[in-house]
């Protein structure tokens, strides 16, 4: 077996273009996928132009609200690309450098302040998008709507907070500042106390009855306005989300990106190499000669899978090392990575052997490997809920038959310390490796035909 392994490596070395493609192409794809997924995190690039004059404040009841820090708040949720003017913002969007442009016009604060006047004008912000494709358009819409909902919430909370402060002043009394002057507000509570202390001094009669009514009004108002404060607060966000995870644990996005990149790399390298090198034995007419007692069919399959596992292992580890440049990896879990790569490579190698045994030529088998692995990889990345339940069940059943998804699950579990256990995916891969190995062994019988 070792001599055949050496021969395959010699052939691989002697085809530098093929070897380079086999190694560089998946690494390139993996890095692009890794970059794309990790880049498109919760911080899309948005061109940002804030034209509101410095020092402008929303005024409530004659008092200026403190700054809500619009710039900081928006730029904490998106990657802000500061632009100088509207034209520059438009160019950034048109060129595709940014997903959208958000322009806060100079009159936004004035319009907000007009809401409490007899001539209210609706405050508006301007959004520019490049809807070059429907997926991107939907993404932009979702992001901008989410961003504006957040901005509305911030403003509403600030106004409600101010309203609550005035209510508190009305109930409990205190100092009130208007145009630089300070006033003492008595408050309903103190008013009621003063009136209650005056009551014994009044003789029984209509005056005292009237005083009792005023004291009662002050008490009732105080109690009800105590409730009104929190109610105004709640109006800004009447419904809160109480999220409970009932199944699956979502790994951090960068971990998922690395898992996808590593699994794609492993899939293409192992599948193409094993399938191609097995088909080569047939293309070179060598199999009948080998099968005359030089190596058993099972030994030949084992050699090809070993070749795939070895090369796939090295390439994937190299790629993970490269990804370390973008995202920090938990190297204390390296033992689990190796297990995931080994089991994944073995199952993918067995699947490659089955494909290689089914085809007569290297080119045909390479095409077959692409045709099988690409759709399966695509289907494996569809999350539940993205399609109907019946269709998703069918996708689950199909993807369970191919090693891509369990390899992805094993890689994710290995990379994410808070993730699910790795035992299930490894068992799944072991079963697939055995099943595909058996299939390859049966298909190899056709090889012997002269």
């Amino acid at each position: 077996m070792r001599w055949l392994l050496l021969k395959d490596l010699q052939i691989l070395r002697r085809s530098p273009l093929q070897a380079a493609l086999l190694v560089l192409y998946p690494i390139l794809i993996a890095l692009l996928v890794g970059l794309a997924i990790s880049r498109d995190s919760d911080k899309p690039r948005v061109a940002f132009l804030n034209q509101v004059p410095e020092g402008s404040r929303v005024v409530v009841g004659g008092a200026k609200l403190p700054s809500v820090g619009v710039d900081e708040r928006i730029c904490s949720r998106v990657e802000c690309v500061r632009v100088k003017n509207r034209k520059e913002a438009e160019e950034e969007v048109r060129s595709g450098d940014v997903l959208a442009a958000l322009i806060i016009p100079a009159d936004l604060v004035n319009r907000l302040n007009s809401l409490s006047t007899l001539n209210p004008r609706t405050p508006r912000v301007e959004v520019m998008v490049n809807q070059e494709d429907p997926v991107k358009a939907q993404l932009v819409n979702d992001r901008i709507e989410s961003l504006l909902a957040q901005a509305n919430l911030v403003v509403a909370r600030r106004i409600a907070g101010e309203g609550g402060r005035y209510l508190d002043l009305l109930v409990n009394g205190g100092q009130f500042q208007v145009l630089g002057s300070s006033f003492q507000i008595l408050g309903l509570q103190t008013t009621a106390s003063i009136l209650t202390s005056l009551r014994p001094a009044l003789p029984a009669g209509p005056l005292r009855t009237s005083l009792d009514q005023v004291i009662e009004f002050a008490d009732v108002s105080q109690e009800n306005l105590d409730v009104a404060g929190p109610l105004i607060e709640r109006l800004t966000q009447p419904i809160e989300v109480d999220k409970k995870v009932v199944s699956g644990s979502s790994p951090p996005l960068e971990v998922f990106a690395i898992s996808v990149a590593a699994t794609l790399t492993l899939t293409f390298v192992v599948l193409l190499l094993v399938a191609g090198s097995l088909a080569l034995e047939r293309e070179e007419n060598a199999f009948p000669r080998l099968s005359r007692g030089l190596i058993s069919p099972t030994g030949l399959l084992g050699e090809k899978v070993l070749l795939g596992v070895g090369v796939g292992f090295l390439v994937t580890l190299t790629m993970l090392g490269g990804l370390q440049l973008f995202v920090p990896l938990q190297w204390d879990r390296v033992g689990l990575w190796l297990l995931a790569i080994l089991f994944g490579a073995a199952a993918l190698g067995a699947a490659g052997a089955a494909l290689g045994a089914a085809a007569r030529e290297v080119r045909a088998v390479s095409l077959l490997a692409f045709m099988v692995s690409l759709p399966i990889a695509f289907l494996s990345l569809i999350p539940s809920g993205a399609v109907g339940s019946g269709l998703f069940d069918a996708i689950e059943a199909i993807t369970a038959l191919f090693p891509f998804k369990p390899t992805l699950e094993a890689m994710t579990s290995a990379l994410d310390s808070a993730g699910d256990g790795i035992g299930g995916p490894l068992l799944h891969l072991a079963i697939l490796a055995a099943a595909y190995g058996l299939l390859a062994r049966l298909a190899l019988r056709r090889f012997a035909a002269v």
């Binding site: 001599w3 055949l4 021969k7 052939i11 070179e284 000669r289 035909a449 002269v450």
Partner: protein, 234 residues
Amino acid sequence: MQAREIVKSFGSREALRSVSFEAGAGELMAIIGPNGAGKTTLLSILAGISKPDSGDVHLPGGAVGWVPQQAALYRRLTVEENLLLFARLERHEDPRASTEEMLELTGLSERRGEIVARLSGGNQQRINIAIGLLSRPVVLLLDEPSVGLDPRQRARLWEFVSGLAGRGTTVIFSTHDIQEAERYGGRLLVLADGEALFDGSPEELREAVRREAPEAADRDFETAFVAYLHHRGH
């Protein structure tokens, strides 16, 4: 080597119908017949690659070398790497010495470092045969060994194969070139539609052709042979 009543079918098609023959040490036997006669099937059964549906093959003690019609070697390896690989797979005690021996025997020592894909068809066939000889076989089976070779390469090939037979190796080869079979085969086995029609020397075949197809007896041997097959219902 002895084959007794070999029968082989592929689905409903009978590829070999109770074919029997014997070949002694040093004999050079040609299996001839039109395309689809069953020559390759018979050789693959003798080589142990295919199993017959019935009948059996008795082999002398020692290895059987097999040289398939299409060169079975790795075109991206060098001449030397190919020989060394198969010598190692054959578990030779000294694979390098065996490789040297085959390079000498085939006259390819000078071209040992060349990638096989860059060699001519004739030289590729020489390596193909050399690999078949690595096991030092007592019987060598060659499936249409001269296909694709020019006359000069053919002459060198047959000189080489005749030398092997002269040293005691039983050589059985298939061909559909009647004149080549007549020239180099000490004995001829004629197959047609899986049936063994004749087993004897070239002279005996000429006699049989004259007897069964007298109208073609004066024409060239190939034409007479075709007439003979026609008379026999093929």
